[in-house]
Amino acid sequence: RTLALKMAPLRRSSTLRLTGLLCLSFLVFFSRGFASHDVVSEKSSGTIQEDSHSQANSTAHKKTFPVLSFNYEHVRTPFEISLWILLALFMKLGFHIIPTVSHIVPESCLLIFVGLLVGGIIKATGEQPPVLDSNLFFLYLLPPIILDAGYFLPMRSFTENIGTILMFAVVGTLWNVFFIGGMMYAVCQIDAAELAHVDLLSCLLFGSIISAVDPVSVLAVFEEIHINELLHILVFGESLLNDAVTVVLYHLFKEFAHEQTITVTGAILGVISFFVVSLGGVMVGVIYGIVGAFTSRFTSYSRVIEPLFVFLYSYMAYLSAEIFHLSGIMSLIACGVIMRPYVEANISHKSYTTVKYFLKMWSSVSDTLIFIFLGVSTVAGPHTWNWIFVIFTVIFCLVSRVLGVIGLTAFINKFRIVKLTKKDQFIIAYGGLRGAIAFSLGFLLDNDEIKNLFLTAIITVIFFTVFVQGMTIRPLVELLAVKKKKESKESINEEIHTQFLDHLLTGIEDICGHYGHHHWKDKLNRFNKTYVKRWLIAGERSTEPQLISFYNKMELKQAMMMVESGSAAKLPTIVSTVSIRNVPTKGAPKPSRAISKSREEEIRRLLRANLQKTRQRLRSYSRYELLNDPLEDNISEARFRKQREMERRVMTEPLEIEPKCNKGVYQTVRGLSILHQNRFRTH
């Protein structure tokens, strides 16, 4: 045994070494793959030319039939895309197999590092590494992440803190833009910097690109530190909602920089444009969300395509908003939020799982790819390094963020019920990470000479925030003893009390004549229940109270867990009709479930007889083989069953079947009804 123990650490280190070697070899292989395509394409085009040449020359000469030919060109693009995605997945896997590193360094840092490596290898072979194309980023890589975030946004904490979030998103970002832009302009005036060619408008444009907090980076880092829900929703909500401000300011300053003048009308139009962009984006999202919810009402006819509806409607919402230069992110979030409660009531359980896991999968892949590409682009892009510009950018980003957070919190705390403490403020300020959105926006600039300068600074800030802040935030959270996320199980108690309190507070507000938060929320809920749900949810679920759907969901989850853990032992409340654990306070006698032995034997006989007779005919009724499959994929099917059981009970009274039906059918149906009646009795 001691020998085995000695072997174990040796084996582990050798496994690590092996894994590391594997990763490295994969890296080299993949980068060679990307780099060598040019060589291969030349070769293949050469072969094609040769072929035609030889054909033209010797038409009479019979060409030997190519048993094995090589044509890389026509699969090149999908092949390369798949290679990139595979690389991302292997990296993700690799980091989790090697636990020591991922404990200290957040995943995003490691991925950027990998990207740097890959870019370096590609460059070393003399090829031009691919750059993160803005189109690719905004149209394909960003939407899955945002949709995943928006669809699973915790609505309650979001709406409770919406005021704070909006303040940080709008006012905070504006402050950042003007502070950074102004200060950088001041820096550019210093003679030593040789930056006199950067004018005020360009600086403000730069400010608008660099000041937005990035949702991808925030998600990547915050997810690993498991911070309490309030801080998470504040920083994350801010990163989502500041998209509108960023879009407006970016286009505004780009226009101004083009014209080289600022006009008052321009400024006013800018303010109006902000409202149009944000509210317009939300409206587009809401429209698509409602249409999506309405569509899901009818998808019971074809369950397999249900998840696709969710994805496509949301993606279309994003794209439609982008057509009009509205805020695509807000549109996507609005669509997901609106669609979710109705779609979840309509789609089957399997589709719900599919939606959930596809979203997680896509956003995970996107996230990984973004960081890798960021690393590759750093190696690739032309850089104009200017010490003063870059260093001051980093400094001012930090300073403006801290000042902004402190100033805003002092103002917001007057209106907040749960005040933000100094620790909270620190985490909010420290969590202002910049990411790939800033890079992509910078990439879209067209002036070459300033563009490289800006890009270098942007990349430096991104690296600084992701590496330095990303790595140190976890120990800081531990050090400051910031409240972590409560590992609270979903409980029916909580749901009941929450609803109870909502009603209570609404009542108190009405007594005081105060139209506050609860009053309007109650009105919205009532409107939702009477009108909207009826239109958007199919069947009888439209009248189902929230408490019941919550309870059903919980029961389903418990049943799944029970089966997964392999124990069907304790099932307190899954019995449908009679509550076995009915322990009344007055000590009333338990309802008797005992069936006499003879009756049981009779039932068994009946079952056996009917089963044998109807086995062949009943293949289409195999759905009713209930006891073999306790996990129906749809809770409504359980209800359907219950209904059917009631119907069958009624039907076993004189069966009025048309004499046209042959006896066989009559017997089958009768036997089936007895089967069901008895099955449910012996439950």
């Binding site: 029916i492 009603h503 408490l547 019941i548």
Partner: protein, 197 residues
């Protein structure tokens, strides 16, 4: 002003109410004007009918219980002091209050008192326990008429099973606090942000 015999609130009364409940001056005056507007009989007290006249309260599932909470045991009228005393439960918790007077009785809006208020709304017979029947009644009020008794019963059973730690199949106040510990956060946000006009 004219025929409206509305009594003006005297300064000493405002001071007393302020000390007892912790509301600010402007909040007290605002709530007093609301009190008088509800008081149709103009006798300085509110009866149950006065409360029931509020339209939103009629559609609130807990409307009757909330109204009952304002009236002390066995009485049918509540004056302004009693009105304010009940409303004081819903003021935000201020941490610096704790340090001021450690020997004094707990302020009405402390976390425990808030939870006690909510608990009493469940526990009608005041035996300091929420029995299965009381829970069923509350569930029935919140859920409406379309749900079968059995389903409601199983929900009630599960609720008690989750919260009950001493096995008496009732929820005592301590179990109530523990079961709703996450909801404690929401208790903290039980507040009326009465803007100082």
């Amino acid at each position: 002003m004219g025929s409206r015999a509305s009594r003006l609130l005297r300064e000493e009364e405002i001071e007393e109410i302020k000390k007892e409940t912790g509301f600010s001056h402007s909040q007290i005056t605002r709530l007093y004007s609301r009190f008088t507007s509800l008081d149709k009989g103009e006798n300085g007290t509110l009866s149950r009918e006065d409360f029931q006249r509020i339209p939103e309260l009629a559609i609130n599932p807990l409307g009757d219980r909330i109204i009952n909470a304002f009236f002390p045991e066995g009485e049918d009228q509540v004056n302004f002091r009693g009105f304010m005393r009940t409303l004081a439960h819903f003021r935000p918790i201020e941490d610096n209050e704790k340090n001021k007077n450690p020997s004094a009785t707990e302020p009405l809006n402390s976390r425990t008192n808030k939870l006690l208020f909510a608990f009493r709304l469940y526990d009608l017979d005041r035996d300091d326990k929420i029995s299965r029947d009381e829970l069923l009644q509350v569930l029935r009020m919140m859920v409406g008429v379309n749900i079968s008794d059995e389903q409601l019963g199983s929900i009630a059973d599960r609720t008690i099973q989750e919260a009950d730690t001493n096995g008496d199949s009732c929820i005592s106040f301590n179990e109530f606090i523990k079961a709703s510990f996450v909801v404690n956060i929401h208790i903290c946000t039980v507040v009326l942000v009465l803007v100082n006009i």
